[in-house]
Subunit: 195 residues, 2 copies
DNA sequence: TGCATATGTCAACATTCGTTGACTTATTCG
DNA sequence: CGAATAAGTCAACGAATGTTGACATATGCA
């Protein structure tokens, strides 16, 4: 016998494609409808596969959600950014993550889910603690680091909520350059300015 | 026959009490769990009444939600506030609404629900258009009114999301006075400052 | 008191959901 | 080729949900 211990693991190229299709459908639906309103059947229909395949590949709806919302912010090294432009850089980077070509709806999915799930909220806190705080630690005053990180969170999350979830008209109407110009100074103050 | 056209309308004092109990239970649950995860049975259990009573008094779960999230921001008249303190006043007012003694979880309920419901998101947009914009119109430059209202939205909603939904630790740790001090200047700039 | 109306209880409904297991088809490899 | 394994299909399950209607009880008025 061949020593293949694993059964039903996605090995072939074809399976990778359907797996990716499920993942993409899930990301789109989670991002636009949140966790509860997104059903396994909806995901399967959009991916044009059988609902049972979702279970085969991801174990459960929660497993699928965990995979669909795993991502890396790829935050910049702020020590390599001209100090007066840190605020603008940060705002631009987040908007790029949300709207840029490589964007999937991951962060927005998580944010939507966090509204009714402590697990999702905890995932966002982990991202902040593990990615945003370390980034700020390189340029912000150490004794105010967490406070400043919290302030950054309020502005960044507020932008995301207003623009992508609540869809507040004037916020939706702003283009990326405007967002950088208008929110950059606030961000600058939160990171390295006088509080 | 008596010409009473309506049947089963809450007329007696006793019914008003149970009606209020249902409403309070609903507000608490909607605020902490969001719309989807809050079941009619949960509300009934917390109010110590029968699930059928919820339907009798509010028609449907959606009807209950609509009643539980109807509220008035009671925003201040900014023309009576010293101009340099407008920002601090606004931040303090919102925190008071959210945490003060007369607070019910209405706004937070709506915010949670908006994550997965376009109707709820639209309700928040209506509140902004009907209450926040008119308030700002009395002190903000008219040609930038909507843009400034949008910026105010990003900061206020961001604070609410970070503090009450995501529960970002440093944001939760700040007391009201700190919030006013830290976010006041940003608010000030968004309302009457140089953009 | 006695009738009418409001208030509350109970059980059941139809539907939808996540999940499972048996089955069939396609693919790989000796 | 032909056996073994992966990929995909199908029908059904048990549980939970919003909602309904029949029924029982309490209350107010003539």
């Amino acid at each position: 016998m061949t020593d293949r211990p694993a059964r039903d693991a996605g090995k072939t190229a074809k399976s990778q494609r359907t797996r990716a299709a499920i993942l993409q459908a899930a990301q789109e639906l989670f991002a636009t409808q949140g966790y509860e309103r997104t059903t396994v059947r909806d995901v399967a229909a959009r991916a044009a596969i059988d609902p049972a395949m979702v279970m085969r590949y991801f174990g459960s709806k929660e497993g699928l959600f965990a995979r669909a919302t795993a991502f890396d912010l790829q935050l910049p090294d702020l020590t390599k950014v001209a100090r007066p432009r840190i605020g603008e850089t940060l705002v631009g980077h987040f908007v790029e993550i949300w709207e840029g070509p490589r964007s999937n709806g991951s962060l927005i999915s998580l944010l939507r889910a966090a509204a009714s799930s402590d697990d999702a909220a905890n995932a966002i806190r982990t991202i902040f603690g593990g990615q945003v705080v370390p980034m700020l630690a390189r340029v912000a005053p150490p004794d105010e680091l967490f406070q400043r990180a919290g302030l950054v969170a309020t502005q960044i999350m507020g932008l995301a909520v207003s623009r992508y979830i609540l869809k507040v008209p004037p916020v939706v109407a702003m283009d990326r350059a405007q967002l950088v110009t208008l929110l950059g100074p606030t961000m600058q103050r939160f990171v390295v300015g006088k509080l």
